[in-house]
C-alpha cells in the first residue's frame, strides 16, 4: 500500500525531473497502461486459474466503443467513458462463458481465438470500424493530465485488486483455481465466481483501454492482434504470476526495457523474443515470483521441520 504510494510519488517526480519531456511522459503513460493490463490479467491467470491469452479483447472492445461514440455522436464524455467501460465488462462474457465449459489447454485455445474474430470484424467492416485506418480523433486531454490519471488508475487498480484477493473473494477464487470439485463441495458457486472474476478483470482492463484510446487518440485493429494480447501474458508472467505487484511491475519494466533496447535496431525484436524464452525457461514464477517463492521456500523449510517433530510425537 505505502510502497505503491511511494512508487506513485517517484513517478510524479519524473515529470519535472525530465522537465516535462513529452517522450518520457507518454512512454511512462503507455507503460503504466500495460502494467494495469498485466495486473488485471493476473487476477484471472494467477488467482482464478484462467490463463487468458486474449486479454486485450476487453480493452479493445472498450476502446472501440468509446471511439465509435466519440466519432459518431456528441454526448458528454463521462457517458462515453461509461459506455466503453460497460461494453468492456460485457465483453468479458466472451471469455467467461467458455471458461465454464472448457479447461486448461482448451481454454487457452478459446482465449486465443476470440480476439482474432474481433480483429477480422474490425478489419472487414471498414465503413463502421475504419478498417486498417482504425478510428482516430483530435487530442482531447493534455499528455500530463492523461499521465496523472493513468498513474492514479494504476495505483488504484493494484490496491483494489490487492484488497480483493485478500478478501473472501480472493480465497474463493484461489480455491476454484486449486480444485473446482472441492470448491463446489464446500458450497462455492463456481460459475458465478468465474464470471465475476472475468468481469472485474475486464473492468480494470477496459478502463486502461479507454485511457489508451485517449492517450493515442486512436484505436486500430492491432489492439485485437495476437501479439498485443500475447504481450500482456509475457509481461504478467515475466513479472510474476499470482503476485499482482509482480505482474504490474512486469508490465512497467518490460515496456521500458523495450524502449531502452531501441538503439540495437534490427536485433531488438529478436533479443526481446530471446529474453522471453530465457525467462520462461529459467523463472517459472517470473522474476518477481522468483523472489517471493524464495521467501516462501525458506518459510516452508521451517514448517517441514515442525511437521516432522509433530509426527514423531
Amino acid at each position: 500500500m505505502i510502497t505503491i504510494l511511494i512508487i506513485s510519488l517517484l513517478l510524479v517526480a519524473v515529470v519535472p525531473a525530465t522537465n516535462h519531456s513529452f517522450f518520457i511522459i507518454s512512454l511512462l503513460t503507455a507503460a503504466l497502461i500495460w502494467s494495469i493490463q498485466a495486473a488485471s490479467w493476473d487476477l484471472l491467470a494467477g488467482y482464478t486459474g484462467l490463463f487468458n491469452f486474449g486479454h486485450m479483447l476487453f480493452a479493445g472492445t472498450a476502446a472501440y466503443v468509446v471511439a465509435l461514440v466519440e466519432v459518431n455522436l456528441k454526448i458528454p464524455r463521462p457517458l462515453v467513458i461509461l459506455a466503453g467501460f460497460l461494453a468492456g465488462i460485457l465483453s468479458s462474457l466472451l471469455i467467461g462463458l467458455p471458461s465454464l465449459r472448457v479447461r486448461s489447454v482448451y481454454f487457452v485455445l478459446v482465449s486465443f481465438v476470440v480476439p482474432l474474430i474481433m480483429y477480422r470484424i474490425t478489419m472487414s467492416f471498414t465503413r463502421i470500424f475504419g478498417g486498417e485506418y482504425g478510428l482516430s480523433i483530435e487530442r482531447v486531454y493534455s499528455r500530463e493530465s492523461i499521465y496523472y490519471v493513468v498513474m492514479v488508475l494504476a495505483a488504484f487498480t493494484v490496491i483494489i485488486l490487492r484488497i480483493l484477493v485478500k478478501s473472501r473473494l480472493g480465497i474463493t477464487l484461489q480455491s476454484i483455481r486449486e480444485d473446482e470439485e472441492t470448491a463446489r463441495a464446500v458450497g462455492i458457486n463456481v460459475p458465478f465466481y468465474k464470471l465475476l472474476a472475468c468481469a472485474v478483470s475486464a473492468g480494470f482492463s477496459s478502463l486502461a483501454g479507454i485511457c489508451y484510446f485517449y492517450h493515442m487518440s486512436h484505436v486500430g485493429p492491432e489492439i485485437f492482434s495476437i501479439m498485443s494480447s500475447f504481450n500482456v501474458v509475457i509481461m504478467g508472467l515475466t513479472g510474476g504470476i499470482g503476485t499482482l505487484f509482480g505482474s504490474a511491475l512486469g508490465g512497467l519494466g518490460l515496456s521500458l526495457l523495450l524502449e531502452f533496447m531501441r538503439p540495437i535496431s534490427i536485433y531488438r525484436n529478436i533479443t526481446y523474443a530471446a529474453l522471453l524464452v530465457a525467462v520462461v525457461m529459467l523463472f517459472p514464477g517470473g522474476l518477481w515470483g522468483g523472489l517471493v517463492s524464495f521467501w516462501q521456500k525458506t518459510r516452508v523449510m521451517g514448517v517441514e521441520e515442525s511437521d516432522k517433530v509433530r509426527k514423531s510425537e
Binding site: T182, G187, E304
Partner: protein
C-alpha cells in the same frame, strides 16, 4: 458403477455405516446424493425437500456436506483459509468476522490443527490432511455429513484421533453417513449399517445383526473379515 435399487432413509442424529465390496457403488452413491452426478431415475429427499437435481453448492448451503476419500485440500491456501472458505459460504454464519474467527478457532482446535493454522495445506502430514478434510466439511456447519473412508490410510493412533472427532460430531447432533472398509473401527461408532453389493442394497440393520446376516457374510464379510484382521495384526506389530 450403476446403482439399481438403493432406497433407505436416515433419521436426524443417526450414524449410518455404508459398506460393501469394492465397486459396490458406494462412491457413486455419494456422488449422486451430493449432486456431483445426477440420477437417471429415483429421487433424493433432504429435510423433506426434493433435492434430486440440486447442485453441490446448493446442497452444501442447505447443510448436506461430503468429504473425499483422498484428502483434496486447496494446496496453496493456509490451513485456516481451507476451513475459512467453507465458513464463507455458510449461510448460518453472518459475516461478522469476530464470530467467524471464533468458529474457525473452535473447529481447528477440535481437530488439533490450530498450531499449524498459518501453514500451507501442502505442508501437513497425511493424518492432519484427513482431519483438515473433516474440518473443511464442518466449516459449513453441516446437518448431514457424508464421509468417504475417513479411516483409509491412517495408522492406529491417527484412527483413534479421527473416530474421537467423529464421536464429538455425533454429540453435536450431526447426522453421519460413513463409507468405510475398516469394519472394526466402523462398528465402534455407527448405530446402523447398510450393505451394498453391485448397486443393490442387500442388508440394513444394527451392526450385530449385520455381522450375523448370511447374505452379507457370503457376499462380503466372508472374504473381507480375514484380510481385515490380518491387517490389524500388521498394525499391532508396527506399534
Amino acid at each position: 458403477m450403476a446403482l439399481s435399487d438403493v432406497s433407505f432413509s436416515v433419521e436426524q442424529g443417526e450414524v449410518v455405516g455404508l459398506i460393501g465390496p469394492n465397486g459396490a457403488g458406494k462412491t457413486t452413491f455419494f456422488n449422486v446424493v451430493t449432486g456431483f452426478n445426477w440420477p437417471s431415475s429415483g429421487k433424493i429427499f433432504f429435510r423433506g425437500k426434493d433435492v434430486t437435481n440440486a447442485t453441490p453448492n446448493r446442497l452444501a448451503s442447505m447443510g448436506m456436506v461430503r468429504t473425499f476419500q483422498i484428502p483434496r485440500p486447496f494446496k496453496e491456501l493456509t490451513v485456516s483459509d481451507n476451513v475459512a472458505v467453507a465458513t464463507l459460504f455458510n449461510p448460518k454464519l453472518k459475516i461478522s468476522t469476530s464470530s467467524t474467527k471464533e468458529f474457525l478457532k473452535k473447529i481447528l482446535q477440535g481437530l488439533d490443527l490450530y498450531p499449524w493454522k498459518d501453514q500451507q495445506a501442502t505442508t501437513l502430514g497425511y493424518g492432519s490432511l484427513k482431519r483438515l478434510e473433516l474440518g473443511r466439511s464442518q466449516g459449513s456447519s453441516p446437518e448431514l455429513l457424508l464421509l468417504d473412508e475417513p479411516f483409509s490410510g491412517l495408522n492406529a493412533s491417527e484412527i483413534e484421533k479421527e473416530s474421537h472427532i467423529l464421536r464429538s460430531l455425533v454429540k453435536e447432533g450431526i447426522t453421519l453417513i460413513i463409507v468405510e472398509h475398516k469394519l472394526r473401527e466402523l462398528m465402534k461408532i455407527v448405530d446402523r449399517i447398510i450393505v451394498l453389493n453391485f448397486g443393490i442394497k442387500i442388508a440394513d440393520g444394527a451392526p450385530e445383526a449385520i455381522t450375523k446376516d448370511k447374505l452379507v457374510l457370503e457376499a462380503y464379510l466372508g472374504r473381507r473379515w480375514g484380510v481385515n484382521s490380518a491387517g490389524d495384526k500388521k498394525y499391532n506389530s508396527t506399534i
